[in-house]
Subunit: 302 residues, 2 copies
Protein backbone atom coordinates (compact mmCIF):
# COMPACT_ATOMS: atom_id res chain seq x y z
CA UNK A 1 0.00 0.00 0.00
CA UNK A 2 2.93 2.41 0.31
CA UNK A 3 4.37 4.35 -2.55
CA UNK A 4 7.68 6.17 -2.88
CA UNK A 5 8.33 8.97 -5.36
CA UNK A 6 11.67 10.58 -6.15
CA UNK A 7 11.51 13.80 -8.14
CA UNK A 8 11.53 17.55 -8.16
CA UNK A 9 9.88 20.12 -5.93
CA UNK A 10 9.79 23.44 -7.72
CA UNK A 11 8.59 27.00 -7.87
CA UNK A 12 6.90 27.48 -11.23
CA UNK A 13 6.02 30.68 -13.07
CA UNK A 14 3.54 29.86 -15.79
CA UNK A 15 1.64 31.86 -18.38
CA UNK A 16 -1.21 30.45 -20.47
CA UNK A 17 -3.90 32.13 -22.61
CA UNK A 18 -6.12 31.89 -19.52
CA UNK A 19 -3.96 33.60 -16.91
CA UNK A 20 -0.63 33.45 -15.18
CA UNK A 21 0.88 32.39 -11.90
CA UNK A 22 4.16 33.42 -10.27
CA UNK A 23 6.35 31.20 -8.11
CA UNK A 24 3.63 28.68 -7.42
CA UNK A 25 4.09 25.16 -6.10
CA UNK A 26 5.20 22.74 -8.80
CA UNK A 27 7.64 19.96 -9.57
CA UNK A 28 7.08 16.38 -10.66
CA UNK A 29 7.18 14.89 -7.16
CA UNK A 30 4.61 17.42 -5.92
CA UNK A 31 2.03 16.80 -8.66
CA UNK A 32 2.61 13.07 -8.36
CA UNK A 33 2.28 12.98 -4.57
CA UNK A 34 -0.85 15.05 -4.32
CA UNK A 35 -2.59 12.95 -6.99
CA UNK A 36 -1.42 9.63 -5.53
CA UNK A 37 -2.43 10.67 -2.00
CA UNK A 38 -6.10 10.17 -2.95
CA UNK A 39 -5.39 6.44 -3.17
CA UNK A 40 -2.35 5.54 -1.10
CA UNK A 41 0.18 6.61 1.52
CA UNK A 42 2.97 8.49 -0.31
CA UNK A 43 6.59 9.09 0.72
CA UNK A 44 8.36 11.89 -1.11
CA UNK A 45 12.11 12.15 -1.70
CA UNK A 46 13.32 15.45 -3.14
CA UNK A 47 15.03 18.70 -2.29
CA UNK A 48 14.11 22.34 -1.74
CA UNK A 49 16.26 25.42 -1.04
CA UNK A 50 16.32 27.62 2.02
CA UNK A 51 14.00 30.06 0.20
CA UNK A 52 11.15 27.57 -0.14
CA UNK A 53 7.97 29.09 1.32
CA UNK A 54 6.93 26.99 4.29
CA UNK A 55 3.23 27.39 3.50
CA UNK A 56 3.73 25.54 0.20
CA UNK A 57 4.10 22.28 2.09
CA UNK A 58 0.80 22.52 3.90
CA UNK A 59 -1.21 20.93 1.08
CA UNK A 60 1.16 17.96 0.97
CA UNK A 61 0.96 17.66 4.76
CA UNK A 62 -2.82 17.93 4.77
CA UNK A 63 -3.00 15.17 2.21
CA UNK A 64 -0.86 12.98 4.46
CA UNK A 65 2.21 12.93 2.20
CA UNK A 66 5.26 11.88 4.23
CA UNK A 67 7.94 14.54 3.77
CA UNK A 68 10.67 12.99 5.93
CA UNK A 69 12.68 12.44 2.72
CA UNK A 70 12.43 16.07 1.58
CA UNK A 71 15.88 17.61 2.07
CA UNK A 72 16.36 21.28 2.73
CA UNK A 73 19.63 22.15 0.98
CA UNK A 74 21.77 25.30 1.01
CA UNK A 75 20.84 27.44 -1.97
CA UNK A 76 17.69 28.24 -3.88
CA UNK A 77 14.77 26.03 -4.87
CA UNK A 78 14.49 24.67 -8.42
CA UNK A 79 12.61 27.18 -10.59
CA UNK A 80 10.88 26.75 -13.95
CA UNK A 81 9.39 29.55 -16.01
CA UNK A 82 7.31 28.66 -19.04
CA UNK A 83 4.39 29.46 -21.25
CA UNK A 84 1.67 27.73 -23.22
CA UNK A 85 0.07 29.29 -26.27
CA UNK A 86 -3.20 27.97 -27.70
CA UNK A 87 -1.45 24.69 -28.41
CA UNK A 88 -1.73 23.46 -24.85
CA UNK A 89 0.05 20.23 -25.75
CA UNK A 90 3.43 21.95 -25.84
CA UNK A 91 5.22 24.02 -23.18
CA UNK A 92 7.61 26.79 -24.18
CA UNK A 93 10.34 26.95 -21.55
CA UNK A 94 11.68 30.43 -20.85
CA UNK A 95 13.94 29.68 -17.88
CA UNK A 96 15.12 26.64 -15.96
CA UNK A 97 17.21 27.17 -12.82
CA UNK A 98 18.11 23.82 -11.32
CA UNK A 99 19.59 25.49 -8.21
CA UNK A 100 19.67 22.95 -5.34
CA UNK A 101 18.49 20.30 -7.76
CA UNK A 102 21.85 20.48 -9.53
CA UNK A 103 23.60 18.77 -6.64
CA UNK A 104 20.65 16.65 -5.59
CA UNK A 105 21.70 13.10 -4.77
CA UNK A 106 18.63 11.19 -3.63
CA UNK A 107 19.08 9.44 -0.31
CA UNK A 108 16.35 6.96 0.41
CA UNK A 109 15.63 6.81 4.16
CA UNK A 110 15.95 3.28 5.55
CA UNK A 111 12.25 3.24 6.37
CA UNK A 112 11.37 3.63 2.68
CA UNK A 113 13.75 1.06 1.28
CA UNK A 114 11.07 -1.59 1.39
CA UNK A 115 8.35 0.42 -0.33
CA UNK A 116 6.47 -1.90 -2.68
CA UNK A 117 5.75 0.74 -5.29
CA UNK A 118 8.32 3.22 -6.60
CA UNK A 119 7.99 6.05 -9.10
CA UNK A 120 11.12 7.64 -10.52
CA UNK A 121 9.95 11.00 -11.81
CA UNK A 122 11.70 12.80 -14.63
CA UNK A 123 15.23 13.26 -13.22
CA UNK A 124 18.74 12.40 -14.46
CA UNK A 125 18.74 8.66 -15.25
CA UNK A 126 21.98 8.34 -13.26
CA UNK A 127 20.03 9.46 -10.19
CA UNK A 128 17.23 7.06 -11.10
CA UNK A 129 19.83 4.27 -11.11
CA UNK A 130 21.19 5.36 -7.72
CA UNK A 131 17.65 5.14 -6.30
CA UNK A 132 17.25 1.66 -7.76
CA UNK A 133 20.51 0.68 -6.05
CA UNK A 134 19.14 1.86 -2.71
CA UNK A 135 15.74 0.17 -2.68
CA UNK A 136 15.65 -3.36 -1.36
CA UNK A 137 12.48 -4.98 -2.61
CA UNK A 138 9.79 -3.60 -4.82
CA UNK A 139 6.73 -5.03 -6.47
CA UNK A 140 6.55 -2.38 -9.13
CA UNK A 141 8.84 0.35 -10.42
CA UNK A 142 7.69 2.96 -12.92
CA UNK A 143 9.65 5.84 -14.36
CA UNK A 144 9.34 8.93 -16.50
CA UNK A 145 11.98 10.63 -18.63
CA UNK A 146 12.25 13.40 -21.26
CA UNK A 147 13.95 14.36 -24.52
CA UNK A 148 16.80 16.06 -22.60
CA UNK A 149 17.90 12.71 -21.11
CA UNK A 150 17.14 10.75 -24.29
CA UNK A 151 19.51 13.06 -26.13
CA UNK A 152 22.13 13.57 -23.39
CA UNK A 153 22.21 10.43 -21.22
CA UNK A 154 20.94 7.63 -23.40
CA UNK A 155 23.23 4.95 -22.01
CA UNK A 156 22.26 5.61 -18.38
CA UNK A 157 18.62 5.81 -19.44
CA UNK A 158 18.87 2.42 -21.14
CA UNK A 159 20.32 0.97 -17.90
CA UNK A 160 17.35 2.40 -16.00
CA UNK A 161 14.90 0.96 -18.52
CA UNK A 162 16.32 -2.54 -17.99
CA UNK A 163 15.35 -2.23 -14.34
CA UNK A 164 11.85 -0.72 -14.45
CA UNK A 165 8.50 -2.38 -14.99
CA UNK A 166 6.63 0.55 -16.51
CA UNK A 167 7.82 3.51 -18.55
CA UNK A 168 5.44 6.49 -18.71
CA UNK A 169 6.39 9.05 -21.38
CA UNK A 170 4.72 11.22 -23.94
CA UNK A 171 4.11 10.60 -27.60
CA UNK A 172 7.06 12.56 -28.98
CA UNK A 173 9.45 11.14 -26.39
CA UNK A 174 8.46 7.59 -27.31
CA UNK A 175 9.08 8.25 -31.01
CA UNK A 176 12.43 9.88 -30.19
CA UNK A 177 13.58 7.15 -27.80
CA UNK A 178 12.80 4.45 -30.37
CA UNK A 179 13.90 6.58 -33.35
CA UNK A 180 10.73 5.42 -35.06
CA UNK A 181 7.82 7.67 -36.13
CA UNK A 182 5.20 4.89 -36.06
CA UNK A 183 3.96 4.66 -32.47
CA UNK A 184 3.10 0.94 -32.55
CA UNK A 185 6.58 0.09 -33.86
CA UNK A 186 8.16 2.55 -31.42
CA UNK A 187 6.34 0.81 -28.58
CA UNK A 188 7.63 -2.59 -29.67
CA UNK A 189 11.19 -1.26 -29.75
CA UNK A 190 10.84 0.30 -26.28
CA UNK A 191 9.40 -2.88 -24.75
CA UNK A 192 12.50 -4.65 -26.07
CA UNK A 193 14.60 -2.24 -23.95
CA UNK A 194 13.21 -3.68 -20.73
CA UNK A 195 9.89 -2.30 -19.46
CA UNK A 196 7.02 -4.79 -19.40
CA UNK A 197 4.55 -1.95 -20.00
CA UNK A 198 4.87 1.30 -21.90
CA UNK A 199 2.37 4.08 -21.33
CA UNK A 200 2.34 6.77 -23.99
CA UNK A 201 0.70 10.03 -22.91
CA UNK A 202 -0.94 11.84 -25.83
CA UNK A 203 -2.01 15.09 -24.15
CA UNK A 204 -5.61 15.97 -25.00
CA UNK A 205 -5.89 12.77 -27.09
CA UNK A 206 -5.59 10.46 -24.09
CA UNK A 207 -3.07 7.68 -23.57
CA UNK A 208 -2.00 4.35 -25.03
CA UNK A 209 -0.67 1.45 -23.02
CA UNK A 210 1.39 -1.29 -24.65
CA UNK A 211 2.57 -4.61 -23.25
CA UNK A 212 3.55 -7.87 -24.88
CA UNK A 213 -0.06 -9.08 -24.93
CA UNK A 214 -2.25 -6.12 -25.82
CA UNK A 215 -2.74 -2.43 -26.45
CA UNK A 216 -5.15 -0.23 -24.51
CA UNK A 217 -6.37 3.17 -25.69
CA UNK A 218 -7.68 5.52 -22.98
CA UNK A 219 -9.66 8.52 -24.21
CA UNK A 220 -8.81 12.15 -23.57
CA UNK A 221 -11.58 13.95 -21.75
CA UNK A 222 -12.69 16.92 -23.89
CA UNK A 223 -12.75 19.66 -21.25
CA UNK A 224 -14.12 23.09 -22.05
CA UNK A 225 -12.00 24.78 -19.41
CA UNK A 226 -8.32 23.99 -19.47
CA UNK A 227 -6.38 26.68 -17.70
CA UNK A 228 -2.89 25.23 -17.21
CA UNK A 229 -1.56 21.89 -18.47
CA UNK A 230 1.55 22.03 -16.24
CA UNK A 231 1.91 18.84 -14.25
CA UNK A 232 -0.70 16.88 -16.18
CA UNK A 233 1.74 14.04 -16.89
CA UNK A 234 2.88 13.78 -13.27
CA UNK A 235 -0.69 13.96 -12.01
CA UNK A 236 -1.54 11.14 -14.42
CA UNK A 237 1.38 9.10 -13.07
CA UNK A 238 0.31 9.86 -9.48
CA UNK A 239 -3.27 8.72 -10.02
CA UNK A 240 -2.07 5.67 -11.92
CA UNK A 241 0.55 4.55 -9.39
CA UNK A 242 -1.64 5.47 -6.42
CA UNK A 243 -4.44 3.32 -7.79
CA UNK A 244 -2.06 0.39 -8.41
CA UNK A 245 -0.59 0.70 -4.91
CA UNK A 246 -4.11 0.64 -3.46
CA UNK A 247 -5.20 -2.31 -5.60
CA UNK A 248 -1.97 -4.27 -4.95
CA UNK A 249 -2.81 -6.21 -8.09
CA UNK A 250 -1.41 -5.97 -11.60
CA UNK A 251 -4.03 -7.73 -13.69
CA UNK A 252 -4.78 -6.25 -17.14
CA UNK A 253 -8.19 -5.16 -15.80
CA UNK A 254 -6.64 -3.25 -12.88
CA UNK A 255 -3.95 -1.75 -15.11
CA UNK A 256 -6.62 -0.32 -17.41
CA UNK A 257 -8.55 1.05 -14.44
CA UNK A 258 -5.38 2.66 -13.12
CA UNK A 259 -4.83 4.38 -16.47
CA UNK A 260 -8.38 5.75 -16.35
CA UNK A 261 -7.93 6.96 -12.75
CA UNK A 262 -4.65 8.59 -13.78
CA UNK A 263 -6.38 10.23 -16.74
CA UNK A 264 -9.17 11.47 -14.48
CA UNK A 265 -6.66 13.02 -12.06
CA UNK A 266 -4.87 14.76 -14.94
CA UNK A 267 -8.18 16.04 -16.29
CA UNK A 268 -8.88 17.74 -12.96
CA UNK A 269 -5.39 19.14 -12.59
CA UNK A 270 -5.45 21.09 -15.87
CA UNK A 271 -8.60 22.95 -14.77
CA UNK A 272 -6.51 25.32 -12.61
CA UNK A 273 -2.96 26.57 -12.10
CA UNK A 274 -0.46 24.73 -9.93
CA UNK A 275 -2.13 22.05 -7.79
CA UNK A 276 -5.05 24.37 -7.02
CA UNK A 277 -7.76 22.07 -8.39
CA UNK A 278 -6.45 19.12 -6.40
CA UNK A 279 -6.72 21.18 -3.19
CA UNK A 280 -10.51 21.08 -3.30
CA UNK A 281 -10.94 17.76 -5.08
CA UNK A 282 -12.96 15.03 -3.37
CA UNK A 283 -13.00 11.28 -3.92
CA UNK A 284 -16.65 11.28 -5.06
CA UNK A 285 -15.69 13.82 -7.73
CA UNK A 286 -12.96 11.46 -8.93
CA UNK A 287 -15.44 8.58 -9.11
CA UNK A 288 -17.87 10.76 -11.04
CA UNK A 289 -15.16 11.72 -13.56
CA UNK A 290 -14.16 8.07 -13.98
CA UNK A 291 -17.80 7.27 -14.77
CA UNK A 292 -17.75 10.10 -17.30
CA UNK A 293 -14.69 8.49 -18.95
CA UNK A 294 -16.65 5.26 -19.21
CA UNK A 295 -19.65 6.99 -20.80
CA UNK A 296 -17.31 8.89 -23.10
CA UNK A 297 -15.71 5.79 -24.60
CA UNK A 298 -18.21 2.99 -24.18
CA UNK A 299 -19.71 1.20 -27.16
CA UNK A 300 -21.23 -2.21 -27.79
CA UNK A 301 -20.63 -4.13 -30.95
CA UNK A 302 -23.37 -6.02 -32.74
CA UNK B 1 -31.10 1.21 -47.37
CA UNK B 2 -29.87 3.33 -50.27
CA UNK B 3 -27.15 5.90 -50.01
CA UNK B 4 -26.20 8.72 -52.36
CA UNK B 5 -22.77 10.34 -52.45
CA UNK B 6 -21.79 13.44 -54.38
CA UNK B 7 -18.06 14.10 -54.63
CA UNK B 8 -14.88 13.82 -56.62
CA UNK B 9 -13.44 11.02 -58.73
CA UNK B 10 -9.74 11.63 -59.20
CA UNK B 11 -6.41 10.39 -60.39
CA UNK B 12 -3.97 10.72 -57.50
CA UNK B 13 -0.18 10.68 -57.48
CA UNK B 14 1.01 10.11 -53.95
CA UNK B 15 4.38 9.71 -52.28
CA UNK B 16 4.84 8.53 -48.70
CA UNK B 17 7.92 7.26 -46.80
CA UNK B 18 6.70 3.77 -47.74
CA UNK B 19 6.40 4.06 -51.50
CA UNK B 20 4.67 5.97 -54.24
CA UNK B 21 1.84 5.60 -56.70
CA UNK B 22 1.18 7.41 -59.99
CA UNK B 23 -2.24 8.30 -61.37
CA UNK B 24 -4.08 5.84 -59.19
CA UNK B 25 -7.80 5.81 -58.47
CA UNK B 26 -8.77 8.38 -55.86
CA UNK B 27 -11.29 11.08 -55.02
CA UNK B 28 -13.66 11.48 -52.10
CA UNK B 29 -16.65 9.82 -53.79
CA UNK B 30 -14.55 6.80 -54.72
CA UNK B 31 -13.15 6.12 -51.25
CA UNK B 32 -16.57 6.77 -49.76
CA UNK B 33 -18.43 4.48 -52.17
CA UNK B 34 -16.10 1.54 -51.92
CA UNK B 35 -16.17 1.67 -48.11
CA UNK B 36 -19.96 2.16 -47.94
CA UNK B 37 -20.57 -0.66 -50.42
CA UNK B 38 -19.72 -3.22 -47.72
CA UNK B 39 -22.91 -2.19 -45.93
CA UNK B 40 -25.37 -0.64 -48.37
CA UNK B 41 -26.32 0.03 -52.00
CA UNK B 42 -24.45 3.18 -53.08
CA UNK B 43 -25.26 5.64 -55.87
CA UNK B 44 -22.39 7.88 -56.95
CA UNK B 45 -22.74 11.33 -58.51
CA UNK B 46 -19.52 12.85 -59.85
CA UNK B 47 -17.58 13.57 -63.01
CA UNK B 48 -14.56 12.19 -64.86
CA UNK B 49 -12.80 13.38 -68.02
CA UNK B 50 -12.43 11.61 -71.33
CA UNK B 51 -8.98 10.42 -70.26
CA UNK B 52 -10.28 8.40 -67.30
CA UNK B 53 -8.99 4.82 -67.58
CA UNK B 54 -12.00 2.57 -68.02
CA UNK B 55 -10.46 -0.18 -65.89
CA UNK B 56 -10.50 2.14 -62.88
CA UNK B 57 -14.25 1.72 -62.62
CA UNK B 58 -14.21 -2.05 -62.41
CA UNK B 59 -13.69 -2.11 -58.63
CA UNK B 60 -16.70 0.18 -58.12
CA UNK B 61 -18.77 -1.97 -60.48
CA UNK B 62 -17.69 -5.19 -58.79
CA UNK B 63 -18.71 -3.75 -55.47
CA UNK B 64 -22.14 -2.94 -56.89
CA UNK B 65 -21.78 0.85 -56.81
CA UNK B 66 -24.33 2.43 -59.14
CA UNK B 67 -22.46 4.71 -61.54
CA UNK B 68 -25.43 6.00 -63.55
CA UNK B 69 -24.79 9.44 -62.02
CA UNK B 70 -21.10 9.54 -63.02
CA UNK B 71 -20.82 12.07 -65.85
CA UNK B 72 -18.16 11.81 -68.51
CA UNK B 73 -17.29 15.42 -69.36
CA UNK B 74 -15.13 16.95 -72.09
CA UNK B 75 -11.65 17.57 -70.68
CA UNK B 76 -9.34 15.86 -68.25
CA UNK B 77 -10.05 14.10 -64.98
CA UNK B 78 -9.40 15.86 -61.65
CA UNK B 79 -5.82 15.22 -60.56
CA UNK B 80 -4.15 15.57 -57.16
CA UNK B 81 -0.46 15.17 -56.48
CA UNK B 82 0.73 15.11 -52.89
CA UNK B 83 3.14 13.76 -50.37
CA UNK B 84 3.25 12.64 -46.76
CA UNK B 85 6.42 12.77 -44.69
CA UNK B 86 6.74 10.88 -41.41
CA UNK B 87 3.92 13.00 -40.03
CA UNK B 88 1.22 10.98 -41.70
CA UNK B 89 -1.47 13.23 -40.23
CA UNK B 90 -0.75 15.99 -42.72
CA UNK B 91 -0.70 15.91 -46.54
CA UNK B 92 1.60 18.24 -48.46
CA UNK B 93 -0.17 19.13 -51.72
CA UNK B 94 2.14 19.61 -54.71
CA UNK B 95 -0.45 20.00 -57.48
CA UNK B 96 -4.22 20.24 -57.78
CA UNK B 97 -5.76 20.29 -61.25
CA UNK B 98 -9.53 20.52 -60.96
CA UNK B 99 -9.97 20.00 -64.72
CA UNK B 100 -13.53 18.75 -65.40
CA UNK B 101 -14.31 19.26 -61.75
CA UNK B 102 -14.05 23.01 -62.25
CA UNK B 103 -17.30 23.10 -64.21
CA UNK B 104 -18.93 20.22 -62.39
CA UNK B 105 -22.59 20.97 -61.59
CA UNK B 106 -24.05 17.94 -59.86
CA UNK B 107 -27.27 16.73 -61.46
CA UNK B 108 -29.11 14.25 -59.29
CA UNK B 109 -30.89 11.66 -61.46
CA UNK B 110 -34.62 11.47 -60.71
CA UNK B 111 -34.25 7.92 -59.47
CA UNK B 112 -31.90 9.10 -56.68
CA UNK B 113 -33.92 12.06 -55.51
CA UNK B 114 -35.61 9.96 -52.85
CA UNK B 115 -32.45 8.41 -51.40
CA UNK B 116 -32.85 8.27 -47.63
CA UNK B 117 -29.17 8.82 -46.88
CA UNK B 118 -27.02 11.47 -48.53
CA UNK B 119 -23.34 12.28 -48.14
CA UNK B 120 -22.01 15.55 -49.52
CA UNK B 121 -18.27 14.96 -49.84
CA UNK B 122 -15.76 17.79 -49.71
CA UNK B 123 -16.86 19.98 -52.64
CA UNK B 124 -17.76 23.67 -53.03
CA UNK B 125 -20.53 24.41 -50.50
CA UNK B 126 -22.51 26.10 -53.29
CA UNK B 127 -22.61 22.73 -55.06
CA UNK B 128 -23.56 21.06 -51.81
CA UNK B 129 -26.50 23.50 -51.59
CA UNK B 130 -27.54 22.76 -55.17
CA UNK B 131 -27.64 19.04 -54.32
CA UNK B 132 -29.77 19.77 -51.25
CA UNK B 133 -32.16 21.70 -53.52
CA UNK B 134 -32.49 18.67 -55.79
CA UNK B 135 -33.16 15.93 -53.24
CA UNK B 136 -36.77 15.45 -52.24
CA UNK B 137 -36.82 13.59 -48.96
CA UNK B 138 -33.96 12.36 -46.87
CA UNK B 139 -33.68 10.76 -43.47
CA UNK B 140 -30.11 11.79 -42.95
CA UNK B 141 -27.69 14.20 -44.62
CA UNK B 142 -24.01 14.32 -43.70
CA UNK B 143 -21.31 16.49 -45.20
CA UNK B 144 -17.59 17.12 -45.21
CA UNK B 145 -15.70 20.32 -45.91
CA UNK B 146 -12.15 21.69 -45.68
CA UNK B 147 -10.11 24.78 -44.76
CA UNK B 148 -10.26 26.02 -48.38
CA UNK B 149 -14.05 26.45 -48.17
CA UNK B 150 -13.98 27.66 -44.57
CA UNK B 151 -11.65 30.44 -45.68
CA UNK B 152 -13.15 31.17 -49.10
CA UNK B 153 -16.88 30.34 -48.99
CA UNK B 154 -17.88 30.66 -45.37
CA UNK B 155 -21.35 32.08 -46.03
CA UNK B 156 -22.35 29.29 -48.42
CA UNK B 157 -20.85 26.76 -46.03
CA UNK B 158 -22.93 28.15 -43.17
CA UNK B 159 -26.05 27.79 -45.35
CA UNK B 160 -25.14 24.15 -45.98
CA UNK B 161 -24.57 23.55 -42.28
CA UNK B 162 -28.08 24.75 -41.48
CA UNK B 163 -29.41 21.97 -43.69
CA UNK B 164 -27.29 18.95 -42.72
CA UNK B 165 -27.67 16.54 -39.83
CA UNK B 166 -24.04 15.52 -39.41
CA UNK B 167 -20.81 17.36 -40.15
CA UNK B 168 -17.69 15.19 -40.47
CA UNK B 169 -14.45 17.20 -40.44
CA UNK B 170 -10.99 16.97 -39.01
CA UNK B 171 -9.58 18.44 -35.84
CA UNK B 172 -7.91 21.50 -37.38
CA UNK B 173 -10.92 22.26 -39.57
CA UNK B 174 -13.24 22.20 -36.56
CA UNK B 175 -11.01 24.64 -34.67
CA UNK B 176 -10.78 26.89 -37.73
CA UNK B 177 -14.51 26.82 -38.48
CA UNK B 178 -15.36 27.75 -34.90
CA UNK B 179 -12.37 30.07 -34.50
CA UNK B 180 -11.79 28.41 -31.16
CA UNK B 181 -8.72 26.34 -30.19
CA UNK B 182 -10.51 24.32 -27.48
CA UNK B 183 -12.18 21.39 -29.24
CA UNK B 184 -15.09 21.02 -26.80
CA UNK B 185 -15.95 24.72 -27.14
CA UNK B 186 -15.41 24.55 -30.90
CA UNK B 187 -17.87 21.66 -31.05
CA UNK B 188 -20.49 23.62 -29.13
CA UNK B 189 -20.12 26.55 -31.52
CA UNK B 190 -20.42 24.29 -34.58
CA UNK B 191 -23.52 22.51 -33.26
CA UNK B 192 -25.08 25.98 -32.91
CA UNK B 193 -24.54 26.43 -36.67
CA UNK B 194 -27.02 23.67 -37.47
CA UNK B 195 -25.74 20.08 -37.46
CA UNK B 196 -27.22 17.83 -34.78
CA UNK B 197 -23.99 15.84 -34.67
CA UNK B 198 -20.39 16.84 -35.23
CA UNK B 199 -17.77 14.19 -35.89
CA UNK B 200 -14.19 15.35 -35.45
CA UNK B 201 -11.59 13.12 -37.12
CA UNK B 202 -8.27 13.15 -35.27
CA UNK B 203 -6.12 11.07 -37.62
CA UNK B 204 -4.16 8.42 -35.76
CA UNK B 205 -5.77 9.55 -32.47
CA UNK B 206 -9.26 8.41 -33.48
CA UNK B 207 -12.42 10.49 -33.59
CA UNK B 208 -14.74 12.45 -31.32
CA UNK B 209 -18.47 12.74 -31.84
CA UNK B 210 -20.45 15.57 -30.25
CA UNK B 211 -24.18 16.10 -30.04
CA UNK B 212 -26.36 18.07 -27.64
CA UNK B 213 -26.56 15.15 -25.21
CA UNK B 214 -23.14 13.52 -25.10
CA UNK B 215 -19.61 13.14 -26.38
CA UNK B 216 -18.16 9.90 -27.72
CA UNK B 217 -14.46 9.20 -28.12
CA UNK B 218 -13.50 6.47 -30.59
CA UNK B 219 -9.92 5.20 -30.36
CA UNK B 220 -7.36 5.28 -33.14
CA UNK B 221 -6.11 1.82 -34.02
CA UNK B 222 -2.32 1.77 -33.56
CA UNK B 223 -1.29 0.09 -36.81
CA UNK B 224 2.33 -0.93 -37.42
CA UNK B 225 1.97 -0.68 -41.18
CA UNK B 226 0.52 2.52 -42.50
CA UNK B 227 1.49 3.01 -46.12
CA UNK B 228 -0.75 5.81 -47.39
CA UNK B 229 -3.26 7.88 -45.39
CA UNK B 230 -4.92 9.30 -48.53
CA UNK B 231 -8.68 8.82 -48.40
CA UNK B 232 -8.80 7.80 -44.73
CA UNK B 233 -11.40 10.47 -43.94
CA UNK B 234 -13.64 9.53 -46.87
CA UNK B 235 -13.30 5.83 -46.09
CA UNK B 236 -14.31 6.63 -42.52
CA UNK B 237 -17.34 8.55 -43.79
CA UNK B 238 -18.22 5.68 -46.16
CA UNK B 239 -18.12 3.04 -43.45
CA UNK B 240 -20.02 5.33 -41.09
CA UNK B 241 -22.80 6.29 -43.52
CA UNK B 242 -22.98 2.79 -45.01
CA UNK B 243 -23.50 1.35 -41.54
CA UNK B 244 -26.19 3.91 -40.72
CA UNK B 245 -27.97 3.28 -44.02
CA UNK B 246 -27.95 -0.45 -43.27
CA UNK B 247 -29.15 0.00 -39.69
CA UNK B 248 -31.83 2.56 -40.69
CA UNK B 249 -31.74 3.67 -37.07
CA UNK B 250 -30.14 6.69 -35.45
CA UNK B 251 -30.04 5.73 -31.79
CA UNK B 252 -26.94 6.79 -29.83
CA UNK B 253 -25.92 3.12 -29.67
CA UNK B 254 -26.06 2.73 -33.45
CA UNK B 255 -24.31 6.05 -34.01
CA UNK B 256 -21.38 4.90 -31.87
CA UNK B 257 -21.25 1.57 -33.71
CA UNK B 258 -21.25 3.42 -37.04
CA UNK B 259 -18.27 5.51 -35.89
CA UNK B 260 -16.39 2.35 -34.97
CA UNK B 261 -17.22 0.71 -38.33
CA UNK B 262 -16.07 3.89 -40.08
CA UNK B 263 -12.86 3.85 -38.05
CA UNK B 264 -12.31 0.21 -38.92
CA UNK B 265 -12.74 0.91 -42.65
CA UNK B 266 -10.26 3.79 -42.45
CA UNK B 267 -7.78 1.61 -40.56
CA UNK B 268 -7.81 -0.88 -43.43
CA UNK B 269 -7.58 1.75 -46.14
CA UNK B 270 -4.33 3.28 -44.87
CA UNK B 271 -2.60 -0.11 -45.08
CA UNK B 272 -2.11 0.31 -48.84
CA UNK B 273 -2.10 2.93 -51.60
CA UNK B 274 -5.30 4.05 -53.36
CA UNK B 275 -8.22 1.71 -52.59
CA UNK B 276 -5.98 -1.35 -52.93
CA UNK B 277 -6.63 -2.72 -49.45
CA UNK B 278 -10.39 -2.42 -49.90
CA UNK B 279 -10.15 -4.53 -53.07
CA UNK B 280 -9.34 -7.67 -51.11
CA UNK B 281 -11.17 -6.80 -47.89
CA UNK B 282 -13.86 -9.18 -46.65
CA UNK B 283 -16.76 -8.60 -44.26
CA UNK B 284 -15.38 -11.09 -41.69
CA UNK B 285 -12.15 -9.08 -41.66
CA UNK B 286 -14.17 -5.94 -40.90
CA UNK B 287 -15.95 -7.69 -38.04
CA UNK B 288 -12.63 -8.90 -36.67
CA UNK B 289 -11.20 -5.38 -36.76
CA UNK B 290 -14.30 -3.99 -35.03
CA UNK B 291 -13.77 -6.57 -32.26
CA UNK B 292 -10.16 -5.41 -32.04
CA UNK B 293 -11.40 -1.83 -31.55
CA UNK B 294 -13.56 -3.07 -28.70
CA UNK B 295 -10.66 -4.91 -27.04
CA UNK B 296 -8.44 -1.87 -27.58
CA UNK B 297 -10.68 0.54 -25.71
CA UNK B 298 -12.71 -1.55 -23.29
CA UNK B 299 -12.41 -1.09 -19.54
CA UNK B 300 -14.64 -1.75 -16.56
CA UNK B 301 -14.85 0.59 -13.65
CA UNK B 302 -14.97 -0.61 -10.07
Amino acid sequence: MSLLVVGSVALDSVKTPFGEAEEVLGGSAVYFSVAASFFSQVHLVGAVGVDFPKGHLSLLQERGVDLAGLEKAEGETFRWKGEYTHNLNEAITHETHLNVFEDFRPRIPTAYQHCRHLFLANIDPELQLSVLDQVKSTDLVACDTMNYWIEGKLEALKETLKRVDILIINDGEARELAQEPNIARAARAILAMGPKTLIVKQGEYGALSFDHEAVFSAPGYPLEDIRDPTGAGDTFAGGFMGYLAKAANLSPLILRQAIIYGSAMASFNVEAFSVDRLKTLTYPEIEERVKAFKLLSHFDIP
